[in-house]
Amino acid sequence: MSISKAWFSTMTRKYSMVVIPAKAGIQCDDWACFCTGTMTSKVSLDRHINVWFCLLLALYCSAATAHDSSMIFNHFKADRLEYEGNQDLHLFKWDVQNWTGTDENKLWLKSEGDYSADQNIFGRADLQVLYSRNIDTFWDFQIGARRAIEPERTFDAVIGFQGLAPYFIEVDSAMFINEKGNVLGRLTLGYEMLLTQRLILQPRVEVNVAAEDIKNRGVKAGITEFEAGFRLRYEIEREFAPYVGMDYVEEESLREHQHSLRGVVGVRVWY
């Protein structure tokens, strides 16, 4: 559904210029320390991140208004809304994205996480807010911030590329840099094989890496998580496809090493 351009630019401009700075209570020294890249104990991390968000939105709005005749669309996609489990493990997982924007410039939100019904805890939950720029026929460059709510509240800067590699391989890559300068990375590759016009097999691999140990979080340098699996979905409509699948997951941390095979049942929806 396309949104009225005028409405969109008015709202975003208003929001980025007035509402966010006001709510965030951004002060001059926030900008100063942000620009110089310094991080002192006096300045709260929250403010630092607020500056990031603010800058992003401003960038986005200026870019979007530069192409006034372009059409704006909004695309929500829940690639995975699923139950995943085996004998020991029962998780509800989500992987949703939403973009709003033109062909060239998009505001891209991504959220991933899992919830354990047994233990009543979130194993992982995060939200990324990204400015996405179409830099090549098949590729978007994305820059922004990630707010992790679980397992710990952290903020990371995010830089990544998302697009379609040759041979129709869907790629989502991101580098996360936290306030201490730790570097983490994530690469997701997907491929679609049509068994019929509506029955689609999707192999998928996800690799999470860390550049160095992060002791307080138990993160070990190297591959921290490897996930390979497939999902077989049936597109009742293009927008609505239930699926089943399998995942092999291997996790490596300073505290433990574990691997497991899990079955998944879920639904893929978008609009």
Binding site: S69, H75, P166, R238
Partner: protein, 588 residues
């Protein structure tokens, strides 16, 4: 409150007597009275004078697909009333907008002052709700044309109708004269379709290659050939099944506003000569048209007479028109069968001696996949089956891409018969063709552009053009962005030419789609190797990977639209403003 369409400008009294009812009842064809008027008009050309035609554009609920949908119609009719003009007539058209949004009517293929061309933002401001815009111009041509909305998606929502212009001197005497207006009617709201394409460009393609096809290809072509083929397409991130962006999954195809189930029919008596005026008013669909059992003689393309050429089939690109003569000799019904190019659907009508007699439908043929040779250029190395080099564009513009065929040793590019629309479909008649020959007597092949030869020579076409403009037809199927020279309309400067120049446009299609290129207000003389007998057209279909040149005499000042006539391509950016600048006194 309805406006009648006064469709022939002879004499108001005559109209009052016989006009309206006949025209309403038989909209879509010229009835007997019209023919009588034509004859009268031929006898008394001095009577030809200005006349006023009125159209009102409004929204109306219609039910074509088993559910009620909103259509945007002129005079509440789908298609809009056929307008009958006369060459030399000064027409006045009052178009009233009864919608809640702005509208416009564009007279497709008509040579007129640019302010009358009906493109909002270029020729005028559009017609606001409740307003009436008066179009006034002199009709300087004759033949089969059409008119349609040029605002938003209104054309896709039903705002189109036929334009039939009688010549000063009728060259072709026929017993019956019918309009066959092809169109694609959408299930989904057009804006929604646009959004879907932006989010998932293969949304409507349910003929994609499956794992089963992969193994079938291995059996047929061998393992390595199949792998090489998949790698070549994968490297380009393109699909050989991508013949149409919006398919039968979204469309019902119509003839004169009727589905095949409604059994539209045209009457004839054996021995009569029938002229069928084919108009493709689709937003997105090219059709392959056949009349099994009847020889078709193409006598005009895009309203302009061409040397008669006998064909068994022709492809009609979006916005093209073809006049075809048939002479059925027996008391038998014939099917007018129009398949969508991607075979995702069809529409048919019956040419019949009796209204209750219907023709049997021929089987829908399998889709012919794009080949690597279609994509040409850098990827040709994968196939080495490129068409032989032939002079000029003659070889380049053959009209059915099926003919982009395959040398006998062809391996990976031979996919016909591989996507079966019907299990018992006859073998694809195109498979195995090499190249079309510009031989009008050969009826076994579909019409090719190279067979279109103008009846009247244009000596102005001789000699070098004043200016050459190369225009690459570009796009990004994955993101659903279409453009010229990789630049969308929103970001592009107008193309400026000088009045009186002859411009040679060379279209280089770098995409895997067909693009029917339309220039408003100016003719395009297709360079198909016939020199000053090159035919003039208002739409030139440029096939995947092909290069086509046209000569465009810039003989009309003003600002003109220049675009791909596929609606969703035009709307995503495959559009330019062409400015023909006033001649200045230059001192050199």
């Amino acid at each position: 409150m309805r406006y009648w369409v006064f469709s022939h400008p002879i004499n108001p009294a005559l109209k009052a007597i016989v006009g309206h009812h006949e025209r309403r009842k038989f909209k879509g064809r010229v009835d007997r009275y019209a023919i009588a008027w034509l004859m009268l008009a031929n006898l008394l050309p001095s009577l030809t004078q200005a006349d006023v035609y009125r159209l009102s554009v409004s929204e109306k609920s219609i039910n074509l697909i088993g559910e009620t949908q909103q259509a945007v119609l002129a005079d509440a009719a789908l298609p809009a009333p056929t307008l009958h003009w006369r060459e030399g007539e000064d027409v006045t058209l009052e178009v009233t907008n009864l919608l809640k949004e702005s509208t416009s009517i564009h007279w497709h293929g008509i040579i007129l002052p640019y302010q009358m061309d009906g493109v909002p933002g270029i020729s005028f401001d559009g017609i606001e709700p409740g307003q009436t815009f008066t179009y006034r111009f002199k009709v300087k041509q004759s033949g089969t044309y059409w008119y349609h909305g040029h605002s938003g998606m209104q054309e896709q929502q039903g705002l189109f109708g036929a334009l039939i212009i009688a010549p000063q001197q009728e060259q072709q005497t026929v017993d019956r004269d019918y309009v066959v207006m092809l169109s694609d009617w959408p299930r989904a709201d057009p804006q929604r379709t646009m959004a879907r394409l932006k989010k998932q460009s293969d949304y409507y393609n349910f003929q994609q290659r499956t794992v089963g096809d992969f193994f079938a290809d291995i059996q047929r072509l061998g393992f390595w050939e199949t792998i090489a083929d998949r790698l070549a397409w994968g490297e380009m991130r393109m699909e050989p099944t991508d013949l149409a962006d919006v398919t039968g999954a979204n469309y019902r195809f119509l003839i004169n506003g009727k589905t095949a189930e409604a059994k539209p029919h045209y009457l004839f008596k054996p021995g009569e000569t029938v002229r069928l005026r084919f108009i493709n008013a689709s937003a997105m669909t090219h059709f392959d048209v056949r009349l099994p059992g009847l020889k078709m003689t193409v006598i005009a393309a895009d309203g302009q007479p061409v040397e008669p050429v006998d064909v068994e089939e022709f492809r009609i690109a979006v916005a093209e028109t073809y006049d075809v003569l048939v002479q059925p000799q027996t008391e038998q019904a014939y099917s007018i069968f129009a398949e969508a190019m991607d075979r995702s659907g069809y529409v048919s009508a019956t040419l019949t001696p009796r209204a209750d007699l219907h023709a049997e439908l021929p089987a829908l043929r399998p889709m012919t996949l794009l080949t690597l040779a279609d994509m040409g250029g850098e990827h040709a190395g994968h196939s080495a089956h490129q068409a032989p080099d032939e002079p000029a564009v003659t070889a380049e513009v053959d009209h059915s891409h099926a003919e982009r065929a395959l040398a006998p040793d062809s391996t990976m590019v031979e996919h016909s018969g591989h996507q079966h629309a019907t299990a018992d479909a006859p073998p694809n008649p195109h498979a195995g063709h090499v190249m079309p020959v510009a031989d009008a007597s050969d009826t076994a092949k579909p019409l090719s552009y190279s067979q279109l030869i103008a009846v009247q020579p244009n000596h102005a076409l001789m000699g070098p053009p004043d200016r050459e403009i190369k225009l690459r037809l570009t796009g990004n199927m994955q993101r659903y962005i279409w453009s010229f020279d990789d630049t969308k309309f929103a970001d592009a400067e107008p193309i400026r030419v000088k009045f009186g120049e002859r411009i040679r446009f060379t279209y280089i299609n770098e995409t895997m789609m067909n693009h029917p290129i339309h220039i408003h207000g100016l003719w395009q003389y297709l360079d198909n190797g016939n020199g000053m007998y090159n035919p003039k057209k208002h739409v030139i279909n440029v096939k995947p990977g092909q290069t086509v040149s046209v000569d465009v005499p810039a003989d009309a000042e003003g600002e003109w639209a220049f675009h791909c006539h596929l609606l969703y391509h035009m709307d995503t950016g495959m559009f330019r403003k062409l400015i023909v600048e006033k001649a200045k006194h230059e001192h050199q």
